[in-house]
């Protein structure tokens, strides 16, 4: 694995007394899609939220170990969490557009970064929506409320909103779990296109989705990283018994 984007060393996370992540060490390659799989409650979403420090919002969380993004430990005391999140965007399981217009949703990120120029904003909105492959659907109704869109459209709008701040890394927490197959396939297609420019980490419950979209797969179980490798390898000949059991549907 050349070109390592994220290097994780012995990362542990505690919810109060409970150890939710146990000494995770892994390497996530740049400009690839990495899928995190595992049964519910195994810590994959928690791990994902560690990457852009969303767990900071929960007061009882304690984290030890290192999370090096391009060599910088993002849990270092001198690192500003706001700047991290600008570079590491996130798409959530449940689509969560703001109760604003479509345009304002996408323009929100650039705006809070201080961009006021209308033409530049227009440009960013258009490119982001194009990248998310929804420009043609939305271009005539940019002033409509985002809440009136369908679930799939909302989720792609959220992706566009994330792209608008031009992050390096995009985290996706089961982005298609609440969507119908057609919307899901659109999102997967989108993920495939986006990996040229972004490093994508995607949490999924759907084995086929992991197999279809990802280049690398990491299998989590009970807060531990059991196995990580090329998706092909994981799905065809996993090294660990647990991985094989999970993938073949014997548990989980």
């Amino acid at each position: 694995m050349r070109d390592i984007k994220i290097q994780v060393n012995d990362l542990s996370l505690y919810y109060g007394e409970k150890k939710a992540l146990k000494e995770i060490s892994m390497q996530i390659p740049a400009n690839k899609v990495t899928a995190l799989i595992g049964p519910s409650g195994c810590g994959k979403s928690t791990f994902l939220r560690c990457i852009n420090r969303m767990n900071d919002l929960i007061p009882s969380v304690k984290i030890t170990g290192e999370m090096l993004v391009e060599g910088v430990d993002i849990y270092d005391k001198n690192v500003d969490v706001v700047n991290i999140r600008k570079k590491i965007g996130m798409v959530f399981q449940k689509s969560n557009p703001f109760p604003k217009s479509i345009y304002e949703n996408v323009a929100y990120g650039p705006r809070i970064n201080g961009l006021k120029d209308k033409t530049q904003l227009d440009e960013i909105v258009e490119t982001s929506l194009r990248q998310a492959a929804i420009w043609d659907e939305f271009k005539d109704r940019l002033d409509d409320s985002a809440l009136g869109l369908s679930g799939g459209q909302q989720q792609r709008l959220c992706i566009a909103r994330t792209l608008a701040v031009s992050p390096d890394i995009i985290l996706m927490d089961e982005p298609a779990s609440a969507l119908d197959p057609i919307s899901t396939s659109k999102i997967e297609e989108l993920v495939h296109q986006l990996k040229e420019n972004y490093t994508i980490i995607i949490v999924t419950h759907n084995m086929q989705q992991a197999a279809r979209t990802s280049d690398h797969t990491a299998f989590f179980y009970m807060g531990e990283l059991i196995e990580m490798g090329k998706t092909n390898a994981i799905f065809t000949k996993p090294e660990k018994k647990q991985t094989e059991d999970y993938i073949t549907g014997r548990f989980g």
């Binding site: 969303m54 959530f92 109760p99 217009s101 479509i102 990120g109 809070i112 985002a146």
Partner: protein, 408 residues
């Protein structure tokens, strides 16, 4: 199948026949009648209040009978002095609070009074000591009553005086200028909302978006406790403490004025606005916060550009309730605003509000007399104003705000 119900053929016309359930029927009727009753009561109150002011509208016939009794044509117009212009009024109302000897207000400033043109001979109202200071006013207003009975004249002119600026209800030539009262009420409301709105909303934003859970649990009940403060206590506090404190700072003349009244009413309105805004802000889904933070927004940016706009309807409702509270607040107005019906834009000038006028004069007026009717008319006005305010806010402003902040 050991169901306790008797086994019957399930889908027959008999078993599926419509049944009459008495308890359910009664419960439904009781609930709906309670709901309608509350609406009906509101309207009944309004009708009652309005009915008492009806003599004003049918005054024309009565006047013909009464015109002989008095034909004073405004030759002797006394002024209470309160309507006079302010710059030339050197005395402060606050100082003589304790002195009960009769004072003559306004005589030296008669010429400066723009609305007193018809008065050729200013008359000092020597015997009646209508002190503008509420401390002593309550003791002295009683004296005014003697004059009241002869004042049935002038009902034909009641309407025309509504749109003047003088509120002189008890005199040989009573004038019921509502403009000064209206402006006074609006002035106090505006001042109170300008203070209470931002403070309460910012406090709500702090507790719902920034404060830790522990702090929130301490701060919220404390602010809400302020709502349980009797308004008479707030009024007392404003009268005794705030008035002196702000006079030391701003150095204005009248110790009790619109500003002090506004500050005191803000104290009454803050807990209402705060509680409802806080609930509205806390009800904004956490996913919005997460989405905003994940885009690299700071806490403050999230609070002010996502959470606050998302809570617009709730905050708007909170402000409306606050306005309603201030608009109808009587005791604080009575105690802290100075109760002088002055027409001026200066916030440090004494004012008299609608509610305080009713509160202070209703007990002193004669049943069925013009003054009495006018007070009830003011009551109806209060009702109508708050009704219009709410209607406009609900159907027009709210929609616009939501459109502006949420793009619907």
């Amino acid at each position: 199948m050991n169901s306790p119900l008797p086994k019957e053929p399930t889908f027959t016309k008999e078993s599926l026949k419509k049944q009459f359930r008495l308890s359910e029927f009664l419960a439904e009727k009781v609930i709906s009648s309670v709901a309608f009753l509350s609406i009906a009561i509101i309207f009944l109150i309004f009708i009652f209040v309005f009915k008492e002011s009806l003599p004003l509208f049918s005054a024309a016939e009565k006047v013909q009978v009464q015109t002989e009794t008095q034909t004073i044509t405004g030759a002797t117009v006394e002024t209470y002095g309160s309507e006079t212009s302010t710059e030339s009024e050197p005395e402060t109302y606050g100082e003589p609070a304790e002195s009960l000897e009769p004072e003559t207000y306004g005589t030296p400033t008669e010429e400066l009074n723009p609305v007193a043109e018809e008065s050729s001979e200013p008359e000092t109202y020597g015997t009646v000591t209508e002190d503008l200071n509420p401390d002593s006013a309550s003791e002295e207003v009683v004296a005014v009553d003697e004059k009241v009975t002869q004042n049935n004249e002038g009902e034909d002119r009641t309407w025309s005086t509504f749109f003047t600026t003088e509120w002189v209800p008890v005199s040989d030539n009573p004038r019921f200028g509502l403009i000064a009262l209206l402006i006074g009420t609006l002035k106090v409301t505006l001042i109170a909302m300008l203070i209470a709105g931002p403070l309460a909303i910012l406090a709500a934003v702090y507790t719902s978006c920034f404060a830790s859970n522990r702090r929130k649990e301490i701060i919220k009940p404390i602010i809400e406790m302020l709502a349980a403060f009797p308004s008479v206590v707030i009024g007392f506090f404003a009268m005794m403490v705030l008035a002196t404190f702000f006079q030391d700072i701003f150095g204005y003349d009248s110790r009790l004025n619109a500003f002090i009244g506004g500050v005191a009413m803000a104290l009454a309105a803050i807990p209402i606005i705060y509680t409802i805004s806080e609930d509205a802000l806390s009800a904004v889904p956490k996913t919005y916060t997460e989405a905003s933070l994940a885009l690299g927004a700071s806490k403050a940016q999230t609070a002010f550009s996502v959470i606050l706009p998302a809570a617009t309807p709730g905050i708007f409702a909170a402000l409306l309730l606050g306005v309603g509270r201030v608009f109808g607040e009587t005791m604080i107005a009575l105690m802290a605003t100075g109760n002088a019906a002055l027409l001026s834009a200066n916030p440090f000038e004494s004012v008299r509000t609608f509610a305080a006028t009713i509160g202070s004069e209703m007990a002193e007026t004669v049943f069925g007399e013009t003054h009495y009717s006018v007070l009830f008319f003011i009551g109806s006005l209060l009702f109508i104003f708050s009704f219009i305010l709410n209607a406009v806010a609900e159907f027009y402003v709210k929609g616009k705000l939501i459109k502006k902040f949420q793009g619907k």
